[in-house]
Every structure is written in C-alpha cells, then in structure tokens.
Amino acid sequence: MALPPLDSPQWQSPWRAFAWGLRSITQTILTIVLFVTYLGIGALAHDTHFSLVWALASTLFVWAGPAQIILITTLGSGATIIQSAIAVTVSAIRLFPMVVSVLPLMRTPTTKRRELVFAAHLTAVTLWVECHRFLPLVPRERRIAFVHGLGCGLVSVCLVANTVGYFLAANLTQTLGAAILLLTPLSFLFSTARNSREVADVVALALGILLYPLAAKMNSGLDILVSGVVAGTIAYGVHWWREVRA
C-alpha cells in the first residue's frame, strides 16, 4: 500500500485521510511489536488480579505501555497509590518532549489548540516514530485526521491484544502462561535498546537493570524510583563527561 500523492483528490476528504491513517498500521513492523507487548500486558493484568475492563481502560486512557506496566507491577506488589503515581509520572515525563516535537508537524497557522488534544493523547513512542515517517507524505491540512486514524488503529490492535492475552493467561497451561508473561520484559528490553541512540540511553538501560536487584534489597517500597534516579543520574553524568571532553 502506497499513500496517494500529495496533490491527489483522495486527500480532499478528512474521512479519507482518517481511513488512510487507519490502513497505515499494516505498513509497520511496530504494529506487531505493540500487539505482542499488549498481549503481555493483558496477561500481566490477569496474573496480578486486575479485571479485563481495568486492563482495557488502562490501554484506552493511559495509552503508554511502560506506564501501564509500572502501574500494574507496583500496585500488584503492594505499593501505595502515591508510590505508584510517582513511578508512573516519572516514566511519563518522556511524553512531554515527544508531544512538543510531534505537534508542530500537524499544526497549520489556523489550527486551534483544542483540535490537537486528541492527537496529543495518542502520542506515544510508536506513533511518534511513525509520524516522522508518514507525515511528510500527507498534505499538512489533513495530517490531524491522518494521525487520528493511525492512532485509533493502533489503540484497537492493542485492545484486541489485551483481551486475547487476558484470556490466554486465564486458560493456558502454566508453561504457556509463563511464556506470555515473559513477552513483556523481552519486548520492552529490546524495543528500548533499539531506540537507544546515545551512550546515555544505553548506560541508563543497562545500569537500571543491574541496580534494581540492589535497590530491592533495601525494601524501601520505592525500589524502582531509587534505582531509576541513581542509574539515570549516572548515565547523565557519562553523557556530561563525554560532552566536556569532546
């Protein structure tokens, strides 16, 4: 499937642009990665005793895989609401620069802020990557509709994956259930590693994994935050040191 040329009459209708966005989910491997990740989230929600509606609502209203996993694992392991909220909000800060950098791609001189609210909600790492790839091929005045289509398509795929994962975890043998739960750490580890372009990202990822077991021994209830802030700050130090030397 190729998108129609920029001057094609196909782009005259916003609904057509929405449909092209929807169909574009078939053009990226990231759709499969998302499906696998959300299959795992559905299974994780089941095994930590959340309901299916809870899992689907978290996908619809949070729409950020890392935040959903942090929420499920922290609440599931007995953290307080405040502790979970802090861990989620720190993980979500990265959405801020993503939204800041992606919205100008859709804005026209007459675009009102409220027209961008839904596009901002849909912004997460996958959409952010795909916007940079697809939007140059879409006429500017149809980009919001296109992104709405693309985002709705990705959300739908993930809702289906959640449901499938939830019921698989409920009905599969223990071994296969374990295999589905293992999808989450594997897909997150490799997709984060793939997105790590700078040394600071790689150090943060590796140290964050290695320091967690140490932080967990302290049993503060804030293990993830402690290891995250320490590992992230060391990674920033490495970045700063390299900049100074360069």
Binding site: A57, P66, S84, V88, T192, V229
Partner: protein, 116 residues
C-alpha cells in the same frame, strides 16, 4: 467468567485514574500547552530521559527477578538465561526485536520441557 468479574471492583478503577491516568496524561497536556518554548536537546531533558529509561529498565528487571503469576513457576536460571540468550541474538541480528523475543521464548520453553 461473569460480567461482574470482567468489570472488577470500582475501587480498582478509581485507583487506575488517580495513580495511572492523571500522572501520565499531565505530561502530554503540558506538552500541548507549553510546546514551542522548550529546546528538545536541553540538558534537563537529557537527564529526564535517562531517569525515565532507567525506571523502565528497573521494571523489566522486577518482572524477571520477582516474577508475577505463572512466570514464578519458571526456575531463576531459565528466566535469566532466556533474557540473556535473547539479548545475544538481538545484538547478533543487528538489533532485531523479533529475533530477540523469539529466542528468549524458545530458550525458556525448551528449558522447561528439558527439565520436565
């Protein structure tokens, strides 16, 4: 599974909004509101990105080290081995997410089968 079980309790759904939806969504809306004025390469954002990545890394480690539900029935050595084997193949295949995930899964399932 009954309808009530599918919905679960309302308390848990309220917690989802307080601990999950609001703390997450606030950053998107701030991005929408204050866009423009922020330099994407600023030092503060570099630090924030590093901490966010390390927190996610901690969550990955937590699921493997203190596994939930059915994953807890898999012996330690198989869980760590699966992540290690997946990582090696991920790096050898020039960062193929698919190859890494499949290798990790096959390692774990084969190990389970072999151990009986």
């Amino acid at each position: 599974m009954s309808f009530a079980q599918l919905i679960g309790d309302w308390h848990a759904l309220a917690v989802l909004f307080v601990a999950g939806v609001v703390p997450n969504q606030i950053w998107r809306m701030l991005g929408l509101w204050f866009g423009g004025g922020i330099d994407e390469g600023s030092e503060l954002l570099v630090w924030v990105r590093a901490v966010a990545t390390a927190i996610l890394a901690g969550v990955i480690a937590q699921i493997v080290v203190e596994p939930p539900g059915a994953l807890a029935t898999v012996p330690d050595v198989l869980r760590y081995g699966a992540v290690g084997a997946g990582l090696v193949v991920f790096l050898l295949t020039r960062r193929s997410i698919f190859a890494g995930v499949v290798t990790g899964e096959v390692f774990m399932l084969a190990g389970k089968w072999w151990l009986g």
